[in-house]
């Protein structure tokens, strides 16, 4: 039999089986859809938790204060040196001029006459120019502090790392724990629903075991017996992916304002738009793979008998 005719027939049998075993096919579609929906939800939740973690971690930073009178060019040179030396580990380095520092201070204590009077008594702007440094990893704060004191001690007045060390470590420890917990919980949950899907698809193939036996007895090769079932499983997967896409898109659109009010700065619809290709790939390939592998394993079981 030419491979083309064989493939054409396998696809045709698979599609026909999908249509004729309507009830079993739609149960399979729903089971796969639940798995893919959960994986999609975890994908979106991952975006949400990353946004929250980033927001918390962004609040953690150290400040390197320069001696009074340090030129802006020198401060920029230190910033460039740090960015070059620590590369991707640097999330952000912001130059804060004495004027900006004063303005922040005034904004912060606007209603407090005590601070206003203290400033008036000092007479001049007491704030120093500084670099506000935000990094991706907590352990790097210590390295950056060491690097600054080793290479730029002549320009610096102080680096306020040591009195923030505890807070920084705790924030990073907690956020990393949350991140890992999320990954493990997602994997466990995914594993669990995949197993449920496997069992459900296996049950539907079990119902077709006498059909499989008959196909073997009339001389069909293993490939010719199992592939229509596998195609049927993949068609179910495709429909499941389509169903999930039809649920996820409007759900995200309508949930975006509510999510944004809970987590300011996180726009669910925007996150979805930016990651739609990945999400569609996960949904379609995941559903196809689940349909493929679960039917293949289930049919294989009866072919061995």
């Amino acid at each position: 039999m030419t491979k083309f005719i064989s493939l054409k027939r396998v696809l045709s049998f698979g599609w026909t089986n999908f249509k004729r075993a309507r009830e079993a096919s739609w149960i399979t579609v729903l089971v796969i859809a639940v798995v893919i929906l959960l994986i999609s939800a975890l994908f979106l939740l991952n975006g949400l938790s990353e946004a929250i973690i980033d927001q918390v971690q962004e609040r953690v930073s150290i400040a390197a204060y320069f001696q009074r009178g340090t030129e802006v060019v020198d401060i920029e040179a230190v910033r460039d040196d740090l960015e070059e030396h620590f590369g991707d580990q640097v999330q952000e380095i912001k130059i804060v001029s004495p004027e900006e520092a004063l303005s922040h201070f005034l904004d912060r204590y606007r209603g407090d006459p005590l601070y206003q009077r203290a400033l008036e008594q000092v007479g001049e702007n007491p704030f120093l120019a500084s670099l506000d440094i935000t990094l991706n990893q907590s352990h790097l704060y210590s390295s950056v502090t060491d690097y600054l004191t080793e290479h730029h001690a002549d320009l610096l007045s102080k680096v306020d790392y040591h009195h923030r060390e505890d807070v920084i470590e705790r924030v990073f420890y907690t956020t990393n724990r949350i991140r890992w917990f999320g990954i493990i919980a997602a994997l466990l949950l995914t594993g669990l629903v995949v197993l449920i899907a496997f069992s459900s698809i296996r049950a539907s193939i079990h119902a077709a075991r006498s059909e499989i036996e008959t196909m073997k007895l009339v001389g069909a090769s293993s490939w010719f017996v199992k592939m229509p079932f596998v195609v049927q499983g993949m068609v179910s997967g495709l429909f499941a992916a389509l169903l999930v896409i039809l649920i996820i898109l409007p759900a995200c659109y309508f949930l975006t304002p509510a999510v944004e009010s809970l987590v300011p700065g996180f726009n669910l619809w925007q996150y979805l738009s930016e990651n739609i290709i990945w999400l569609l790939l996960i949904q379609i390939l995941g559903a196809l793979f689940l349909g493929f592998i679960s039917t293949l394993l289930a049919v294989q079981r009866y072919l061995k008998k």
Partner: protein, 227 residues
């Protein structure tokens, strides 16, 4: 064409289904294997198509030892033997047309061949008006005729029918035996396993009688065969 050489089959429950059977069936023969239920008739068919394996002995099909065949050769063997099963073994998700066409698909026939041969086979067994029906919509006699159409569609070298009369009424039984006689006249080797005396009465040729897993008589007979 078919040779059972000192074949025994002992089932796990210690039931001896076949006891040292030696039987040879030549090409073009019409053989009726008769015996009561449990005599070992169905086991013979199962062993020939490698649905099961004997405890002892060897089976040859066209000179090839069936027990030594690999998966691919077993598929080819099954394609060369058309079997009409007692329980029909039809594909429930396929229509009458689909059940017959499936066999041609398995052997790699072209779409044109399928479109040409399937209606012809259905006409021979009188199911032309039922092509779009599913097996669940057919009567016992129609299922049996469909099973025969499926067994003969690819013109196998041997057709084996296990209790072809099944639970059919005498009219349907006569009908089916007539179809098998016609197939035999076209040169196909036909083997029928039955316990039905009416079936034996309608067949001509060799009759092999079995009892408790043994061959007790092997003769050419036309009428009033006693077992």
């Amino acid at each position: 064409m078919i040779k059972f050489d000192q074949v025994s089959k002992l089932y796990p429950n210690s039931c001896l289904a076949l006891d040292n059977i030696t039987l040879e069936i030549k090409q073009g023969e019409f053989v009726t294997i008769v015996g009561k239920s449990g005599a070992g008739k169905t086991t013979l068919i199962k062993l020939l198509i490698r649905e099961d394996i004997p405890t002892e002995g060897q089976i040859y099909f066209d000179g090839q030892p069936v027990l030594d065949m690999n998966r691919r050769q077993i598929c080819q063997l099954r394609q060369r033997i058309g079997v009409v099963y007692q329980d029909y073994k039809l594909l429930p998700q396929q229509t009458v047309y689909g059940n017959v066409a499936y066999i041609l698909s398995v052997i790699g026939a072209s779409d044109a061949e399928i479109a040409r041969d399937v209606p012809r086979a259905l006409e021979i067994v009188g199911l032309s008006s039922k092509t779009d029906d599913f097996p669940s919509q057919l009567s016992g006699g129609e299922k049996q005729r469909l099973a025969i159409a499926r067994a003969l569609i690819h013109q196998p070298e041997v057709i084996m029918a296990d209790e072809p009369s099944g639970n059919l009424d005498p009219y349907n039984t006569w009908d089916i035996i007539e179809v098998l006689n016609k197939i035999h006249q076209m040169g196909t080797t036909v083997v029928i396993a039955t316990h039905d005396k009416d079936v034996i009465a309608q067949t001509e040729g060799r009759v092999v009688a079995m009892d408790e897993g043994r061959i007790i008589r092997d003769d050419y007979q036309t009428r009033n065969f006693v077992f």
